[in-house]
Every structure is written in structure tokens, then in C-alpha cells.
């Protein structure tokens, strides 16, 4: 019986979600289709027109040379002319002049040997068309022929040939060929498709997130509370009411129900008072016994509030935090695909220090400030309240992001990033503290999952959107947009967190130097942090945040592509994280998971050394995503296992806090380390070397833990597992 009311409400809500999702999909699909059509109508034919324009303009130049008396066979600098044309026009594969028979005389763009007999046919057709032509307009003599990639051919050429006869004084001397690169078109097509797909996916994810937020906040949440209240009333429990204010119908219902409960309670109190008065006024023991019997009967009818009065149901507050968490993560992660590229624009050379190392500094500064300010921000948020903490953090982040976007040079950029780091850490701790405070033993896991889910969602959406935006409006505007998001999240925080909760024990504990000392004497803890936690975090900051953007841009990727590449990480952790966590819990193989995760992350970065290219980078991102998904949660379980005594003595939060702090300081070193590596060995090798370091570290970790074993594995109790990355 319990919960059936909520279930009745849930069904239409699921329907609402389905309909909204359907509508979103349809409208987004139509938008995507429309965008695709615009592209097809615009870009593709314009490339064909370009080829014709190029052909006619080159033809005119050759005719001019013939006009002034240069013999056809003595034309000089044709290749140079063709190369100028290719440089000036994107998307062309080659320009060539062939004899009437189709033999290549001059060419630039590809090796003539690769073409073989490919141009013979179009040359012949172009000549025939010229000879039969009545009109003098050269564009009417154009011949087009497409060559697709032949799978087993060594040439791997795919192009559309635009052929036009080259004639002088009415006599055809040769044929001019301008080839549009099919792979260029294919690349553009797939890029636009991926862009559209990314926008589709992320916009639906974000829309659903908002829908969930609104529905839970204004419908599902109160409905659940009404359900519980009705159930309580039905079972005669009048100790609870709903004090939160809601508007419209639900508000009326809640108000009425509260009035009913209050009336019943008031009547109960009145009856008890009357009974007590009657009891006091009589001396007859029989009457007293009768009255007592009546009172007992009444009390049996239901549970009534004691002297403390009625208690209110707890509102479903965690959903508010989910939205706030999503927003601040989103604001920060928007710049992930291009941050090092942006830094590079601001770096002025310093004698003796490589540019690559300087680029790492602002990223490291951010990480370091996050690491250092989290312990302080956590305690502070508990003291001043989460709304104040969150809004303060949001304001700091807003200023930091704006400053980042408008920075003058590397040094003020480092300052702005540090400020952003403090803001980020404050918001993070406010959200985390709030989640723990507003959940109890039963729903804490769910609350944490919701918090982590918001982070994952931002990891997926923000880099993809940031990349696409940066491609179109530039870095600065993306930072401004991020600042706007951060600012509006602070306004939202003021509106939706309307209650103050008592500080939780998680926030109350302070880190002590003695704790560090004790932990660092724990051999297993040191191995865990040195060979598992720090290396994986360094890979995350060094590889994903620094190397991937700079290397991909060097390979010619667009910012949108980089955004999508970085998004893979979010997808992997979101899809696989919960799965691996369950597997690890079920089979008690936390150590194995951590070791394996590290090995996979490290190994995934090695192929780029042998096969430098985009695919290897994507493989690396996926490997890090999978590796992180495997190791994040089990790592935390391991911490409590290896520091079992200390955890019992000082509490989870302290030990976890220290673990996080050391790990994050390691993360801050990542960008500088890969900066040094890339300055010496180049980006691809820096990737592979950092992968190798992580691999070896994980190997040491695995061997050490196999040899040492864990301590008292059986008496573990579950405790919250926080956050995914960062």
C-alpha cells in the first residue's frame, strides 16, 4: 500500500518524460535536417563552383602566356602557378595540365604516377565537347568526373575532376584538370554531421536534466510528500506535516492536509486537556480509571505529536544540488577542449624556459588551488551555510572565468585561473556537503550518485559544446558564456536552497599534521597514493586537459573535434563507472580494479608513439576514461581498507580528505610534467612517455599489493564515494 500514491503520480510523469523526449527528438532532428540541408546547399556546390572558377582563371592565364608569344611547349613555372592556386583554394586535390591524349604534362598536388590513366577519359570528353561546342563560353565545355577511393588500390585517391580544354586560336592544345578532393568534402560532411549529432545529444541530455529538475522540484517531490502524508494519516500517524510552500493545486492540497492534521492534533490536545481537567476535578477512582481508559483508546487510534509539535517532511533537496553541481561543472569544463591553446596565444617567450612548460602553468595553478582550497572551503561551507558558500564560489568563479577570457598575458592568466580554482573548490565542497547533510543512511548512496551523475553529465556536454562554440565565436566569448553560466548558477542557488541545515560531521573535521604523519607511515597507503592515485590523476590533467588539445590541433583537428574527443572520457566514465563499482563490490576486487585501471590507462597511451594520429589519441582518451571508471570508486574503498585503524580512529572524512589533497597536488604537477616532456620529445612522445610512466607505476602498485595483500577486508562498511574526476 505504501508508496502507491507516488506511483500513480509517477506513471503520468514517465509519460510526460517520454512525450517531452519524443518532442525534443523530433524538433531537434528537424533542426539538424535543416542545418544539414543548408550546408549541402551552401558548401558542397560552392566547392564545385570554385573548381570551375579556378579552371577558367588558370585557363585564362595560360592563354595570356600563349597570346604574348610563349610557345605552348616552352611554358615555364606551371607547377608554381598550380601550387599558388592550391594554396589559395581549400579543398582542391591537384591541378594538372594534360596533353590532348590525357598524358600529364604539368601537375601540382599529387605525384603524377599515382594518377595513372585516370585523366585520359575526362581529357577526351573535354576535347570532344570543345570541338563540338557552338558556344564560346568556356564554362559550357566543362567535364566532370568523379573517382572514388578504390579499396585495394595503392593510390587511395578520391577526387572529382573538373576538366576543360585548353585552346588557343581555336586549336585545342591540351586539357586543364582541377580536382576537388573528395576526402576534403567527406571530412567536412562528417564533421558537420558529428557537430549536429553532438548538439543533438548534448541538448537532449541538458533538456532532460532541466525537465527532471523542474518536475522533481515542483511535482514529483511534493507529490511524494503528499503520498507519505496521506499514508501516515491513513495509518493514524498525525506527527508529520508539510511546511514547505507550494503554489497552485498542490499547494492547496498540502495546505488542506496540513490544516486537517493540525485540526486533529488540536482536537486531540483539547480532548486530552479536557480529560485531564475532568480527571483532576473528580475524586472517584472509577471515573479516573474510565477517563484513563478513554485516553488510552484515543492514543491507540493514532500517533500524535509529543510536546515538540509536528515535524515537517524533508523536501527532496538533492535534486537542487544536482542542478547546481551540473551548472558549475559545466561552466568550468566548457574551456576544456581549448584551454592550453588559449594559453599558448598569451604566452610570450621566456629565455631558457620552453613555451610548452609555460602553457602548463595556468592549468597546474588551477589544479593546485583546487587541491589546497578544498579542505578549507569544506569547513568554511559547513560554518557559513551552503547557499553563502556556493554563491561566494560562483562569484569567484565568474570573476576568474571573465578574467581568463580577457587576460593580457600568462601571468595575470595564472592569477585568474587560481581564482577560478578557489571558486570551483568552494562550489564543489558546498554541493558535496549539502548532499551529505541532506541525505540519511537510506538515500545517501542515491544522493551521491545524483551528485556524481551531474558531474558526469557536465563532463560529456560541456567540452563538446565548448569546442563547437569556440570554433564559431572564439575563445573569449566562450569564457564570457561560462562566466554567465556560473553567475546564473549563483542566482539559482539563492532561489532554490532556502533552508539552512546544521553542519555535518563531515564538514566539521579538520586536517591535522599528525594525521599526515600517521598516514605517510602507512606503507600501503603510500604505495596506493604514489603508484595508483597520483599517476592516474596526472594522466588526466596532463594528457586529457593539456596534451590532447595541443596535439590534436597540431594534427589539424578543429576545436569541435577536440571537444568531442574529450567528451569520450565523460561517456566512458558515465557508462562504465557504476558498472565497475558494482563488479568491484560484488567480487571484492578493489585492488585488482585499481591496478587494472591504471594499466589500461597507461597502455592506451602507448600506440600514439607507433601510429601518431587522431585515432591513437582517441584510443588514449577512451583508455583513460575506462581506466578512471575502473579505479575511481575502488580506490576510495582501498583507502579505507589500507588505513582501517586510522579510519576508525579519525573517521572516513579526514582520511579521504588527506588522500584527496595529496592526489590533487599530484594532479597539479601533471601539466607541468607533460610540458617538460613535450618540450624535449614533442607531443606524441610526451603522451607515450607519460602513458609508460603510469603503466609502470600501476605495475609496481599491482605487484606490491599482490605481495603485501590487504588488511582485514571483511569488516568494511560502505561509505560514500564522492565525485568522479578532478
Amino acid at each position: 500500500m505504501k508508496g502507491s500514491y507516488a506511483r500513480t503520480i509517477k506513471r503520468p510523469i514517465v509519460g510526460l518524460f517520454a512525450i517531452s523526449l519524443g518532442l525534443l527528438l523530433v524538433s531537434q532532428a528537424i533542426m539538424a535536417f535543416y542545418a544539414w540541408n543548408l550546408f549541402e546547399r551552401g558548401t558542397l556546390p560552392s566547392l564545385d563552383r570554385k573548381a570551375i572558377t579556378v579552371a577558367i582563371s588558370v585557363q585564362a592565364e595560360i592563354v595570356h602566356a600563349l597570346d604574348i608569344g610563349i610557345p605552348y611547349d616552352d611554358l615555364v613555372g606551371m607547377e608554381e602557378l598550380f601550387s599558388q592556386v592550391l594554396d589559395a583554394t581549400q579543398g582542391l586535390a591537384f591541378v594538372a595540365l594534360t596533353s590532348p591524349a590525357g598524358e600529364v604534362l604539368h601537375i601540382h598536388g599529387v605525384d603524377r604516377k599515382l594518377l595513372g590513366s585516370m585523366l585520359i577519359e575526362s581529357s577526351k570528353v573535354a576535347l570532344t565537347r570543345f570541338n563540338e561546342a557552338v558556344e564560346t563560353d568556356p564554362s559550357t565545355h566543362i567535364v566532370r568526373q568523379s573517382f572514388d577511393k578504390v579499396p585495394d588500390s595503392i593510390t587511395q585517391l578520391a577526387f572529382t575532376d573538373t576538366a576543360i580544354a585548353l585552346a588557343h586560336n581555336g586549336q585545342a592544345l591540351g586539357v586543364l584538370h582541377v580536382a576537388v578532393d573528395q576526402s576534403f568534402i567527406q571530412d567536412r560532411i562528417s564533421e558537420i554531421r558529428l557537430d549536429i549529432g553532438t548538439v543533438l545529444l548534448t541538448s537532449i541530455l541538458i533538456a532532460l536534466e532541466f525537465l527532471l529538475f523542474v518536475v522533481t522540484l515542483s511535482l514529483l517531490g511534493p507529490a511524494r510528500m503528499i503520498g507519505s502524508l496521506l499514508n501516515n494519516i491513513a495509518s493514524g500517524d498525525f506527527r508529520h506535516v508539510i511546511l514547505a510552500k507550494y503554489r497552485e493545486e498542490l499547494g492547496c492540497v498540502i495546505e488542506r492536509l496540513t490544516t486537517i492534521v493540525n485540526n486533529i492534533n488540536a482536537s486531540y490536545v483539547e480532548v486530552v486537556n479536557l480529560a485531564n481537567k475532568a480527571r483532576a476535578s473528580t475524586r472517584s477512582a472509577a471515573v479516573v480509571a474510565q477517563i484513563d481508559e478513554i485516553l488510552v483508546k484515543i492514543r491507540e487510534c493514532g500517533s500524535f505529536p509529543s510536546a515538540g509539535g509536528v515535524t515537517s517532511y524533508r523536501q527532496p533537496r538533492v535534486i537542487n544540488i544536482r542542478m547546481l553541481t551540473f551548472l558549475f561543472m559545466f561552466a568550468e569544463l566548457l574551456s576544456r577542449p581549448f584551454l592550453p591553446l588559449y594559453v599558448r596565444e598569451l604566452v610570450t617567450p621566456l629565455p631558457g624556459i620552453s613555451e610548452n612548460i609555460l602553457i602548463g602553468l595556468p592549468i597546474s595553478a588551477f589544479m593546485l588551488m583546487v587541491a589546497l582550497s578544498m579542505p578549507i572551503a569544506g569547513g568554511w561551507a559547513g560554518r557559513v551555510g551552503y547557499v553563502k558558500a556556493y554563491t561566494t564560489g560562483a562569484i569567484l568563479a565568474t570573476i576568474g572565468l571573465l578574467g581568463t577570457g580577457l587576460a593580457f598575458n600568462l601571468w595575470d592568466l595564472i592569477l585568474w585561473r587560481s581564482l577560478s580554482g578557489i571558486g570551483y573548490a568552494t562550489m564543489f565542497m558546498a554541493c558535496q556537503g549539502f548532499t551529505i547533510d541532506n541525505t540519511d543512511e537510506q538515500d545517501r548512496t542515491q544522493g551521491i550518485a545524483s551528485f556524481v551523475g551531474a558531474i558526469m553529465l557536465a563532463e560529456i556536454c560541456a567540452p563538446a559544446i565548448g569546442g563547437i562554440l569556440a570554433d564559431r565565436v572564439g575563445y573569449t566569448m566562450v569564457f564570457v558564456f561560462a562566466a554567465v553560466v556560473a553567475m546564473s548558477s549563483s542566482l539559482l542557488a539563492v532561489r532554490i536552497i532556502r533552508f539552512r541545515t546544521s553542519a555535518s560531521p563531515y564538514q566539521n573535521c579538520r586536517l591535522r599534521a599528525a594525521d599526515f604523519g600517521q598516514l605517510l607511515h602507512n606503507f600501503r597507503f603510500v604505495i596506493l597514493i604514489l603508484f595508483a592515485a597520483i599517476p592516474t590523476k596526472m594522466l588526466l590533467t596532463g594528457y586529457l586537459i593539456y596534451l590532447v588539445p595541443v596535439y590534436l590541433i597540431e594534427l589539424g583537428s578543429s576545436l569541435s573535434e577536440i571537444g568531442r574527443a574529450v567528451m569520450i572520457y565523460g561517456i566512458c566514465t558515465m557508462a562504465l563507472g557504476p558498472l565497475f563499482a558494482r563488479i568491484a563490490d560484488r567480487f571484492h576486487c578493489h585492488g585488482l580494479m585499481v591496478g587494472l585501471g591504471g594499466l589500461i590507462s597507461g597502455a592506451g597511451l602507448l600506440p600514439v608513439m607507433l601510429w601518431p594520429g587522431i585515432d591513437s589519441v582517441l584510443l588514449g582518451v577512451a583508455a583513460i576514461g575506462i581506466g578512471q571508471a575502473m579505479s575511481i570508486s575502488p580506490q576510495l574503498v582501498l583507502v579505507s581498507q589500507v588505513c582501517h585503524d586510522l579510519v576508525q580512529d579519525r573517521g572516513h572524512a579526514i582520511i579521504l580528505g588527506i588522500f584527496r589533497l595529496i592526489e590533487r597536488i599530484g594532479a597539479a604537477l601533471g601539466p607541468v610534467l607533460v610540458g617538460v616532456l613535450s618540450a624535449v620529445y614533442g607531443f606524441a612522445y610526451a603522451m607515450a612517455i607519460s602513458g609508460a610512466i603510469a603503466f609502470i607505476a600501476s605495475l609496481i602498485f599491482s605487484v606490491a599489493f599482490l605481495a603485501l595483500g590487504l588488511r582485514s577486508e571483511d569488516d568494511l562498511n560502505d561509505f560514500p564515494i564522492m565525485e568522479s574526476s578532478q
Binding site: 570554385k50 572558377t53 579556378v54 582563371s57 592565364e61 595560360i62 595570356h64 602566356a65 604574348i68 608569344g69 610563349i70 610557345p71 616552352d74 611554358l75 615555364v76 613555372g77 606551371m78 608554381e80 602557378l81 599558388q84 592556386v85 589559395a88 583554394t89
Partner: protein, 343 residues
Amino acid sequence: MIACGFRRCLPLLAITITLWGGLVADVTADMSEPQTRPLRIFMILWRGETNVEVGLRDYFNSEGIKTDLIIRNAERDKNKILEFIQEAKRIKPDLIYTWGTPVTLGVVGQFDAIDPQQHITDIPVVFAMVTSPEGSQIVESLASSGRNITGVSHVVPVETQVKAMLAYRKAKRIAVIYNPMENNSVLSVRALRRSAEVHGFEVIDQPAELDESGRPRAEDIPDLIDKVAAREPQFLYLGPDSFVGVNRKTFTHEAKVHRIPTFTATEVQLRDAEALFGLVSRYDSVGRLAAHKIKQILIDKIPPQDIPIETLRRFSYIVKMSIAKELGFYPPMKVLKYAEIVE
């Protein structure tokens, strides 16, 4: 669209054929007072009227400036210049225009040896066709003469000339024949060597031999060309050298016989000899620029020492097609985009 792209590339080249882009826009014109009487300009020429004077008149006509031009021709005789100076002092024109280095030096003297009796000091002077105003010590600095003169040079910077040569063909060796007694020539050969280091070619440097009176002999020219030809240069560079200029026909013809393409810095080598190609200042352009400076002095009332001495900013790349045909040595497609082709 593509064509636009090409056109946009052209200004990037140091050398283009546009004639008048180089002139400074005349922003002060509207502020000047209306002209009440024709400008009296006393023109002392070295060898009669040339295209420079055509450009000069053309500029005055198109600007609607009335002039009263008094023309004197020295007929390559330095003695006549002295007579003209006396005449100018007598009739007191608004301005004196001089053509060429000898005339200009005669009229204004070297900047460190001015004799007010002999030279003009109180009448503004605008000179044209002076190869090297600094080298010939007419002025100390091109930025300002520091005295009552300004003018126009017609020489294309050597580095620009080298780039023009190399645009035609890559070269390993470039030969130059010159009169070692001519200061201008020595300076330009030195500049050529500097460019050679930048562009990685070798300069085959052949000074003319001098007779007892210290002059090079015209009859040595075939020998000089023979010597140079033996080292197989890709180009023979004909600089702004009087000895080469006077004997241009012999030089260019002998080079052609040896199948050495000749590059020249002066237009006359193409118009009146057999040079293959060159990067030159058009005489009429030089005249227009000189006329513009005259206007600045007489109408806009800018003191001559405030007007810098300039050369053109844009030059003409001229290819003589008849010679290219004879040598079978044709200009590349790239050069055809901006070159002026003459027969």
C-alpha cells in the same frame, strides 16, 4: 572569387606594374590658396626632354595647375649649366627643376661645399633622375636635404632588383660588369653581394679595365663579356652605370650572342637596346612624383627641407619578348601576372 584571391596576392609582391599607387595622397590640396598666376619653373635638362617631363606636364594638367615652363637643354655639356644658373639668378623663377646628377650637382653643389656665388641657394630646387642623391653628396640624408632642395630618385633598390631577377629563374651565378671609377656602380655591386648572401648565389664581379686616363674603353666590352660568359652566369646584371648606359647596345648585343639573359635597372636598356628584362622606374612616373613635390612647395607652401627625397614605391617589371624568343628563355607564368610585355 579565385581570381580575387590571386589579385589580392599581388600587392604582396614587392614588384608590380601599377604606376601611380606610390604617390602620397595630397591631403593638403584643399587648404591651399587659389592659384593667381602660372608657376614659373626653370627647367634645366641634361639631354633634352624625356618621358620624365611628359609625366610632369601630365600631372600639372590633371591637377589643373597652370605653369610657365622655361626649358633649357644642356646637351650633355657641363659648361652650359653655368650659363643657365646665371640666367636663373637673373630671371628669378619660382622654382628650378633639374634633370640628372650632373645638372643637379652643378646647380646646387655638394651639401658640404656650397658656394652661394656659384650655386643656387635662394630659389627652391626639385631634382629628378638622380641615381644616388646621398652617394653623389647632393644631400646628406634622404629624409631631409636640410636646405632649399628636394627631389626624386629613380633607382630601384638592389635587393628588389635581385628578387625580380630570381622571380624569372633561380640563379646560381649572376654576373655584373661595371666601371670601378663610378661611385654609384661600386655601391650597387656591394649591395648585390649582400643580396647574394641572403639568396645564396655567387656574384661574378667584372670591373672594366681602365686606360691611362682612368677611363674604361668601349672596345674592351666583347672581351669583358667573353670573360664573364666563360663562368656561365644565369644572368648579366646591368646596373645604373654610365659606362654601361652609354654602351648599352654593345653590352646587350654581346650578351645575347653569348646567350646570357640580361637584367637591367634602367628602362632605356630595354627601349633602346637588347636587354631581356628589367625592373625599372617608369620615367613618366618619376616626372609625376617630381611634379607632386613642386606642387607641395609652391602651392601647399611646404618648405623643401620638410619634403623627403623619395624613389618610387612601385616599379615596372618589363620583359622584352623579342629577346626572350631569340634566347628561347621565356618568363614564368607567375611573372606574367604582373609583367609588362614589350616587343
